[in-house]
């Protein structure tokens, strides 16, 4: 079932076409990667999907609703209810602790619940660092807090912009594991990246070049990868 559809979407700045007549389709529960070099338009597409920007032309259907037509206020609501955002530059409120940063996201959705927030932190392996300030966390840890924040409200769609761009390999694996977990739970994942390894973790990769969809690549090995990951997880849990 379709969750997200971009129909003939263009974003034009004067002479520049950041996105040029793009058509994209994402089903519920899919794990899609959007890849492309710098200037290919992937950030723009991410902004539009994340309701942080509006296209110049075309329709953007999120769960059947054309978010291109909505006003800023409504977009905020949609963003809040349906989408979890993970940025490359792990934006945290630097005067709130880890758990408080997660709770902020809860607060704007429904109600802050410290227990739930602590559990979310637990999922990303940061339960013990719950009361630390961002300045006291490493880059990887900050990113993981952002992930926890993104999924605390059980969004339908997780939108991640270069989630591992600033992380070392160990932290990158942790994040990808999380994504695998989310996928297993049925969350739709759209990951924007320029890293082929990260793209390979997804089911399908949409490649952008100069604002156009160049090609789509299906990951043949996806099901295998999932099985392997599950096995490893079981082993870890037992051990």
């Amino acid at each position: 079932m379709s969750l997200l559809e971009l129909k003939n979407v263009s974003k034009i700045y004067g002479d520049l076409k950041a996105l040029d007549n793009v058509n994209v389709h994402v089903d519920k529960g899919e794990w899609v990667a959007i890849m492309g070099p710098s200037g290919s338009g992937k950030s723009t597409m991410m902004n539009i999907i994340g309701c942080m920007d509006k296209p110049t032309l075309g329709e953007v259907l999120l769960d059947g609703v054309d978010i291109a037509k909505e006003n800023s206020k409504k977009l905020t609501d949609i963003r809040r209810d349906k989408i979890g955002l993970i940025f490359q530059q792990f934006h945290m409120v630097n005067y709130l602790t880890a758990v408080e940063n997660v709770m902020v996201s809860q607060y704007y959705h429904s109600m802050p619940d410290e227990q739930e927030a602590l559990e979310a932190l637990g999922r990303v392996g940061l339960r013990e660092r719950a009361h630390h300030l961002p300045s006291q966390l490493s880059g990887g840890e900050q990113q993981r807090v952002c992930v926890a924040r993104a999924l605390i409200n059980h969004p339908e769609l997780i939108l991640a912009d270069e989630p591992t761009g600033n992380l070392d390999e160990a932290n990158e694996n942790i994040v990808l594991d999380l994504f695998a977990q989310l996928h297993a739970e049925g969350t739709t994942l759209i990951v924007v990246t320029h890293d082929p390894e990260v793209a390979d973790a997804a089911q399908r990769t949409i490649v952008l070049e100069h604002g156009k969809v160049a090609r789509e690549v299906i990951n043949e090995h996806f099901d295998e990868q999932q099985k392997l990951w599950l096995a490893r997880l079981n082993a870890e849990n037992k051990g």
Partner: protein, 432 residues
């Protein structure tokens, strides 16, 4: 959650918040200090102006004229057919504006003859006459206060507490020089109803025609002229409010004022109102303003207050601009954070609310600290310049509070609005 966020800002952004609070404190202290001084300066300057002496003179209603400036002629003793009673003098301190009566001195004069045949005008008055009023106020009234510009070149002031006070005189520099008097000399004075030998307690330099006269106690002159219990006129030094249109109309004819106007006039310390009240208190008297002093006081007071108001206005504007400037800067600086909250899903009004609350709490802390600091500045100024504490004017608190609140709002709201209008995308994405 809100509380946690606010607490988070205040505790973990201490440095930044402190800077803002500090600047607000400075601005608030400036405003407080200036406002306090401005409101009090009128009273202080008024007190200083009392140096000029009497601004009101009280005479018997039926007295006729006399007394010249440059000593061209005779004294009033033959022509005055009406007198005021010495016993009525205390009533001056019972009028509505009793508190504004700073000093007063009765006068009774006589032409006295000296041994060498020349005549000299003898003025009888109080010097440091102690009054214990039913209100509990203690006051020393008389020439000592009313002639602040006299220099005592020899000897000392006549002291009424001295048991010999009634047999002493003070001599003006000119007459003392002509007669060769020194402090301690004894002089025989002859007047219409007797003569007396008095001692010169001191010599004064008045810089005016009083240098050619002598001063003694009221009792002395009453004795020498057989006018016990009588007084020819009273000089009064009162703290007054400068005249305005209402005061001038009232001075011409109080009875012509409307009920409300009359109350306003009566209950304001205009010279005309105080004169009117003195006339009510002392039977058979007429009190008038010594225009020379009263008008002069009015001019100086008015200009001083106007000047202070304008300086205060400048300071307030400067203060306001400084605070709003910094507040705007601090909001702009939080653009990323605001963008993030918006990206997470916060609504505009919610974000505005949080930021505003944080700023207002900071402003409150800064404002309170600033108020006390400013009050301290006011005291510093008051004590250094006037040697007296500046009165705490409660009206200053709401004014400063309103100013800080208004300025903080004016500095932050537009800035928040501007930042909120920015798309989160612009704010959050740096460096792709």
């Amino acid at each position: 959650m809100l509380f946690r966020m606010i607490r988070g800002v205040l505790f973990h952004q201490k440095g930044k918040m402190l800077l803002i609070a500090f600047t607000i404190a400075l601005g608030a202290s400036l405003a407080t200090g200036m406002l306090n001084v401005m409101m009090d300066v009128g009273d202080k300057v008024n007190q200083e102006l009392k140096n000029y002496g009497a601004n009101i003179v009280v005479k018997p209603k039926d007295s006729s004229l006399l007394a010249d400036i440059y000593d061209v002629g005779e004294s009033g003793e033959e022509l005055n057919t009406a007198w005021l009673n010495e016993s009525d003098l205390g009533k001056i301190k019972t009028i509505f504006w009793a508190f504004n009566i700073v000093d007063f001195a009765p006068l009774l004069d006589a032409q006295t003859e000296l041994p060498d045949g020349s005549t000299v005008k003898l003025n009888g008055s109080w010097f440091n006459h102690h009054l214990s009023l039913p209100t509990g106020e203690e006051l020393d009234a008389g020439v000592v206060g009313m002639r602040s510009w006299w220099d005592i070149t020899e000897g000392r002031w006549l002291d009424e507490k001295d048991e010999n006070a009634g047999e002493e005189i003070m001599a003006g520099a000119t007459i003392a020089r002509e007669q060769g008097w020194k402090a301690g000399d004894r002089v025989v004075l002859k007047a219409s109803k007797g003569q007396k030998t008095v001692t010169v307690s001191g010599v004064y330099d008045a810089g005016g025609d009083e240098d050619e006269q002598i001063f003694g106690t009221l009792a002395l002159v009453q004795e020498l002229t057989g006018r016990e219990g009588k007084v020819a006129s009273v000089e009064v030094s009162a703290i007054t409010t400068p005249d305005n249109e209402l005061a001038r109309r009232a001075a011409k004819n109080p009875a012509a004022l409307s009920g409300r106007d009359y109350e306003t006039w009566y209950c304001t310390a205009y010279v005309s109102a105080i004169c009117y009240q003195i006339q009510e208190a002392i039977p058979g008297s007429v009190a008038s303003a010594v225009r020379k002093v009263a008008e002069g006081e009015g001019a100086v007071l008015e200009k001083t207050q106007l000047l202070m108001i304008l300086i205060t206005a400048l300071s307030l504007i400067g203060s306001a601009l400084g605070i709003s400037n910094l507040v705007t800067a601090s909001v702009m600086e939080r653009a990323k954070e605001i963008g993030l909250l918006k990206a997470i899903g916060a609504r505009d009004h919610s974000i505005t609310g949080i930021i505003m609350t944080e700023i207002m709490v900071t402003a409150l802390l800064g404002g309170v600290a600033g108020y006390f600091l400013g009050f301290g500045f006011a005291q510093l100024i008051g004590r250094s310049v006037f040697g007296a504490a500046v009165e705490m004017k409660p009206a200053v608190i709401p004014v400063v509070a309103a100013l800080v609140a208004a300025v903080t709002l004016a500095g932050s709201l537009p800035a928040i609005r501007t930042v909120l209008r920015l798309r989160p995308a612009e704010v959050l994405h740096g460096g792709h």
